[in-house]
């Protein structure tokens, strides 16, 4: 027997949710529950060894404000984001445009592969490789600087509080650059040739075509890359752990490594969860803002 009328429609409407129920439960349990639980944990003081949990309200958030390492970490994440946008978004865009501007299909494939190779190397291997580049005694970088007569520039790049985080960021650019270039190359390939032909007929040179054709027609990819880069920069963890573990003297801490140190090194999971909450808020705000921006400026051919 079939239900009819408004009631039947409502029932069918409700029943239609069964197709997504499993996905909703999985998503709720593995994504949304941990987020809510993280906020709950951040209001507690928890001793992992004894299992004692004390509710302390917003004290962990108050402590965040007065913790100088949190501010250092925030700055480092911010620097990571800005430098990554410059190199992995705009730099990668320029490189992709140059590669896609080549006439030979073979040359295009070759250069795409060349730039993509670093992205295929594991971070542990990259970390070790760059440790030997930055090492003060036998490192390639300092040897090169000495060779060029730039002795005053020689320094222990990972051991100097002023340069450690930037040395890590530089390594990260080297590794992530090729991946972004490949994505931009795909976006550029999707632009119909007619637009370029029309621009050439109008007398536009390569730079004008790049600025007035390629750049606006890849803005959706640019927007997406900015979101991915900024959220990635605020969630960075492996690179710092492998290279300096946040040192020297916490100068290269980012929010992710400081969270880890608080939870697993200092046995303070409540404070670690409060730091995780900050990361969540920052990345969610960035992601939402970017999504709204790119939705308004959708590209359709």
């Amino acid at each position: 027997m079939q239900a009819g009328g408004a009631d039947g429609f409502r029932l069918r409407h409700l029943l239609s949710f069964r197709w997504v129920a499993v996905a909703v439960i999985v998503l709720g349990w593995f994504v949304y529950y941990p987020i809510v639980d993280n906020f709950i944990v951040s209001t507690t003081n928890e001793d992992i060894f004894t299992g004692e949990v004390t509710n302390i309200g917003l004290a962990n958030y108050q402590r965040l404000l007065g913790d100088p390492v949190v501010w250092t970490a925030l700055w480092n994440n911010f620097a990571y984001a800005v430098i990554s946008i410059v190199f992995q978004v705009f730099g990668a865009f320029l490189l992709a445009a140059i590669i896609e501007g080549l006439y030979s299909e073979r040359a295009k494939r070759f250069w795409r592969a060349v730039y993509f190779v670093p992205s295929a190397i594991s971070i542990t291997v990259t970390g070790l490789l760059f440790y030997f580049i930055y090492q003060p005694e036998i490192g390639l970088l300092d040897a090169l600087l000495r060779g060029l007569g730039l002795d005053s520039w020689v320094r222990p790049w990972l051991g100097d509080e002023k340069t450690a985080i930037y040395a890590i960021i530089a390594m990260s650019q080297w590794q992530g650059f090729g991946y972004s270039t490949l994505l931009f190359a795909i976006a550029i390939q999707k632009i119909p040739r007619e637009y370029y032909d029309a621009a050439v007929v109008d007398g536009a040179g390569p730079l004008i075509r790049l600025w007035n054709v390629t750049f606006p027609l890849t803005r959706e990819m640019t927007g997406l890359m900015i979101i991915v880069t900024v959220t990635g920069a605020f969630q960075v963890f492996n690179e710092v752990m492998v290279m300096t573990a946040g040192g020297p003297n916490n100068s290269s801490q980012v929010l992710g490594t400081w969270l880890y140190q608080q939870g697993f090194m200092e046995n303070d999971f409540g404070y670690g969860a409060a730091i995780a909450a900050v990361i969540f808020v920052v990345t969610m705000l960035t992601g939402t803002a970017q999504l709204i921006y790119t939705r308004r400026r959708r590209v359709q051919f």
């Binding site: 992992i48 003060p136 005694e137 509080e161 969630q235 300096t244 040192g247 003297n249 090194m265």
Partner: protein, 440 residues
């Protein structure tokens, strides 16, 4: 990078949830080993070791195989971590209530964490001084794992810090073994003039300079004050010896160490520099002696010598103290088969296995009586044990003797001291601040 942080964040929350639910049998109550318990030789024994280094790994692997051969119903599952990773691994296992049946532990505050969390079996009835097993172990080593009057640890080997030196370089430059810190600084000046790095030091991991500081603190701060300051509830850190000791490190660094590069160099790289004969000295643990003179290096076993980091002339503390401590294992109270876990550790600490452990390539001086067999060990390790026996006090490692937050303040601030961005007084302010916060 995103994935790893998500994993870490989820681990924090998941670990918290699991702590609340206490899912794997751990309960907040004491468990005491039963000396009359019958061992059921069936099931699995999980073991977390600190022998993750390639050269050390075979020790436990071979013992596990022997034990499984003797008891076909038993499977030994090993998780072998390195010195750097074992702390994080242990805490992750504790937080998720998945700690192994047998796990590595240092002495001091680190070990006490397991005791106050009721995660370590009280072994007094089976390892106490009057027991059969207890009589086979070095009493002072068992004593080092005593908390609240009870024995909780199974010491496996003895460890201490010494200055390893290249006898050939010393001889060539006419340098005698330094008797005071001032002598050592003068020796460094001579070595430096000869174009050789006096002491190689890698402090990228932050704890190597903490070890220098530990030995110097023992020379400058009375033992009672040090021990009072290990506990945040009684800590004051106001003894002038603290700043004096750190100033001595600075002076030593100025004469002997390339201060600018230490934080950018790993412990392993600096160790290799010494092993390759490129530096004259290296501050190392006795358990690393045999690795200094590995066959492929430039330093021959006959050229390897060592001395205790000498005390300054005007030292106010204990000049006979040596920094070091035994290292060992504890039994998890949540283990399903505690008698089997204990039996496995009795097997590990047998005299025969002690002799294997003490001899090259492992070179870890066994804590089993008769385990440190002189005819099988390297001469340097034998001599190291003699010095260790004559020590008036074994100064524990600062980063395991202090509780977590204070320990991390030591680590990060001493990295700043080594890099020249903090003064000794500023380091002590940071340590005091962390200890006060921890006491609250």
């Amino acid at each position: 990078m995103k994935h790893a942080l998500k994993t870490a964040t989820l681990a924090v929350t998941a670990a918290s949830a699991l702590t609340l639910s206490a899912g794997s049998g751990w309960s907040a109550s004491d468990v005491t080993a039963d000396p009359n318990a019958k061992v059921d030789y069936n099931g699995t024994v999980t073991v977390l070791t600190k022998f993750g280094l390639q050269v050390l790994q075979p020790f436990f692997v071979n013992i596990a195989q022997e034990y499984e051969k003797l008891h076909p119903g038993v499977k030994v599952e090993l998780t072998q971590e390195s010195d750097d990773s074992v702390k994080d691994k242990t805490k992750a296992l504790v937080a998720s209530n998945t700690l192994t049946d047998v796990y590595f532990s240092w002495t001091g505050s680190w070990g006490y964490n397991f005791v106050r969390g009721h995660r370590a079996v009280d072994l007094t009835p089976v390892i106490g001084p009057d027991t059969d097993w207890g009589k086979t172990l070095v009493p002072a080593a068992v004593e080092a794992f005593k908390y609240n009057g009870k024995d909780y640890g199974i010491p496996l080997y003895l460890d201490a810090k010494f200055m390893g030196y290249n006898k050939a370089i010393f001889q060539k430059l006419g340098i005698a073994v330094p008797q005071t810190l001032e002598d050592l600084e003068a020796a460094c000046d001579t070595i430096k003039k000869a174009g050789i790095t006096p002491i190689s030091l890698g402090n990228k991991e932050a704890w190597p300079v903490v070890h220098y500081a530990g030995q110097l603190l023992a020379y400058n701060v009375p033992r009672a004050t040090l021990e009072q300051d290990f506990d945040p509830k009684t800590a004051k850190f106001d003894d002038p010896g603290y700043v004096a000791a750190l100033q001595q490190y600075k002076d030593l660094s100025d004469h002997c160490i390339d201060g600018a590069s230490v934080n950018g160099t790993s412990y392993a790289s600096a160790f290799q520099q010494f092993g390759n004969g490129k530096s004259a000295m290296y501050y190392q643990e006795i358990i690393e002696f045999d690795q200094s003179t590995a066959a492929d290096g430039g330093l021959k076993q006959s050229d390897f010598g060592f001395f205790v980091l000498p005390a300054p002339k005007d030292a106010k503390g204990d000049t006979k103290a040596v920094e070091g401590a035994p290292e060992g294992y504890m039994i998890n109270t949540a283990s399903k088969n505690i008698p089997l876990a204990i039996d496995f550790m009795k097997f590990v600490t047998s005299k025969e296995h002690g002799q294997v452990l003490s001899a090259p390539p492992y070179g870890q001086p066994s804590a089993t009586v008769g385990g440190a067999s002189e005819d099988k060990m390297s001469p340097a390790v034998v001599q190291g044990l003699v010095v260790l026996k004559g020590a008036s006090y074994l100064m524990p490692w600062l980063d395991t003797a202090n509780s977590a937050r204070t320990a991390n303040a030591w680590l990060s601030s001493l990295q700043a001291l080594a890099g020249g961005t903090m003064t000794p007084a500023e380091v002590m302010d940071k340590v005091k601040e962390a200890s006060k916060a921890e006491a609250k």
